[in-house]
């Protein structure tokens, strides 16, 4: 951390302010300090979210930037998400085959793969892969813009940065996560079938029929759409961490790291809650 005097001497903008609460900064000495730090971070996150919501629902709408972000977050994450989904399908097929054969339930293999992929592995793998790729990208990009005064320049040009930068990215994450989850699910199921077919010939038609027998929309829609919440978490945390960055290149690095770590952590925690709610409301 540099002080204000040395920042000014170095000709840098007056970036140094009261120290911001960093959830991943060294913990304070007391438990009370830790709780205060945690609550302050959440408070600032809440205020940031309020600014974003207010900016998102009032004109002018930034459609051009939204479409650019849909491409950046959606299309460009597709290969990675598809690959991760496919690998998960292979691993699930191998593991499930071994376990089910041991317990004499080999006939349940297609259903085990389908349910595992659609209910949990597809959504959570997508959430984690996107939080890694997109979370780091958004965090680093916005942090770099912040420390080079580009966000201030946007504001000075009478453009609302919450609307242009944050709302568009968060909305793109919310919209693209369910679509990317579908892609991960498809790749996982296809590779699950391929892996099984290599050991014991079975057609895709038979595999799908056996896998989806007894499944209904409640097995499919809520787990897929819960990833919209993951998208909200990833976009919100990455934008928040990026736009509050301080301290030059080191700050940019910290913002990128904390965006990934915090968004992954909160995606996993949200998954616990969402799974419970889905079981409760869509039995």
């Amino acid at each position: 951390m540099i002080d204000h005097e040395s920042s000014a001497v170095a000709g840098m903008p007056p970036q140094v302010r009261e120290p911001r609460i960093q959830l991943l900064s060294p913990p304070p000495n007391s438990a009370k300090g830790l709780i205060n730090q945690f609550l302050e971070w959440f408070g600032e996150l809440g205020i940031f979210f309020w600014h974003v919501v207010r900016a998102a629902v009032t004109p002018p709408f930034e459609f051009r930037e939204l479409f650019r972000q849909l491409d950046e977050i959606g299309s460009k994450s597709l290969p990675l998400v598809a690959l991760a989904g496919a690998a998960t399908g292979v691993v699930l097929s191998l593991e499930a085959r071994y376990s089910l054969t041991r317990f004499g339930a080999k006939s349940l293999l297609p259903a085990a793969i389908v349910f595992s992929v659609i209910h949990e592995t597809g959504p959570i793998i997508t959430g984690l892969v996107v939080s890694g790729r997109v979370g780091a990208g958004i965090g680093a990009e916005l942090a770099s813009m912040k420390v080079t005064e580009q966000i201030d320049a946007i504001e000075a040009s009478a453009v609302n940065p919450y609307r242009l930068l944050a709302a568009t990215r968060i909305l793109a994450c919310i919209l693209m996560l369910p679509l990317l989850t579908l892609a991960a699910d498809c790749c996982g199921l296809i590779m699950g079938w391929v892996t099984q077919a290599m050991v014991e010939p079975v057609s895709l038609h038979q595999f799908i029929n056996a896998g989806f027998s007894g499944a209904d929309f409640n097995d499919f829609l809520p787990p897929t759409f819960k990833t919209a919440v993951f998208g909200l978490i990833i976009g919100l945390i990455a934008c928040f961490q990026g736009m509050r960055t301080q301290g030059g290149a080191a700050g940019v690095g910290r913002a990128a790291t904390s965006s990934v770590v915090l968004s992954s952590l909160f995606v996993i925690l949200a998954d616990v809650v969402l799974v419970k709610l889905i079981i409760l409301f869509f039995p």
Partner: protein
């Protein structure tokens, strides 16, 4: 005989004839932690006038500009633009006032993912949505020509020098035809020839557009060239305000010291 009501003029009219300040800063205080950066600063700038704010590094000059444009919130005191206080305004309301203001950042702050032309077009894209594309392109070319950068349309900010970046920053600041121009260290870090060119450019723009301007600088030569009045800031306070001759006549020790080393 005219009554007081009859001879009273509205603020906009007063600005037009140059009697009312376009920028009015009153008793501004701002601190970061325990450091008092601005400690009761008061300034006023009328239409067509350029005020240079001088001072040592770290005395709050840049913070003063950031407070005026609303990028920083003061602890106390007020900033009035065209008579309207900016304190407590929502971001979008503040945006309406900022449309009348151009701001040149110390490091130009060009958008590094956009070309020079796109940087200058940025305010037009967002605030002149009804302007035809060809007209926008013409306006961008005209602005870049005004700052002598018409050949750099397609270049990225990383491909041009610091002085050129400042010229582009200046063109972007002028895109919405502001009536207030805030310049943060326009010549800092530039060689003497580039500094002179920027000074001449600012002077030319001032004469053509008659804006109210505040120029933050620690370059006395530049301040003398482009400003009508100078204000010297020390430890967050305005030590002296006046023209260069008034500064030279001052008995204040800090003023003498500053002029001696400039």
């Amino acid at each position: 005989m005219d009554t007081i009501e009859q001879i009273a003029i509205d603020p906009a009219e007063a600005e037009q004839i140059g009697s009312a300040p376009v920028i009015a800063v009153e008793d501004l205080h701002k601190s970061f932690g325990s450091q008092n950066v601005l400690d009761g600063v008061s300034l006023a700038v009328k239409r067509g006038e350029t005020l240079a704010v001088l001072g040592r590094s770290g005395t709050g000059k840049s913070v003063l500009l950031r407070v005026i444009i609303g990028l920083e919130t003061p602890d106390s005191g007020s900033v009035r633009i065209h008579g309207q206080a900016i304190a407590g305004l929502a971001l979008d309301q503040l945006g309406e006032i900022r449309k009348k203001m151009g701001f040149l950042f110390q490091h130009a702050a060009l958008y590094d993912s956009l070309t020079v032309a796109q940087n200058v077009a940025f305010p037009l894209q967002h605030h002149k949505k009804n302007m035809p594309k060809s007209e926008k392109a013409d306006r961008v070319r005209q602005l870049l020509a005004e700052v002598g950068m018409e050949d750099a349309l397609a270049k990225m900010p990383s491909d041009i020098s610091g002085g050129m970046q400042k010229r582009v920053g200046l063109a972007r600041a002028l895109a919405l035809e502001p009536d207030i121009l805030l310049l943060d260290e326009p010549t800092a870090g530039l060689d003497p020839i580039s500094s002179g060119e920027i000074d001449d450019l600012v002077l030319k723009l001032q004469q053509e557009h008659h804006m109210a301007s505040i120029v933050v600088t620690h370059d006395l030569h530049s301040a003398k060239t482009i400003a009508n009045r100078l204000a010297l800031l020390d430890q967050g306070k305005v030590v002296i305000e006046g023209n260069f001759e008034e500064l030279q006549k001052s008995d204040i020790e800090f003023v003498k010291e500053f002029l001696k080393h400039s």
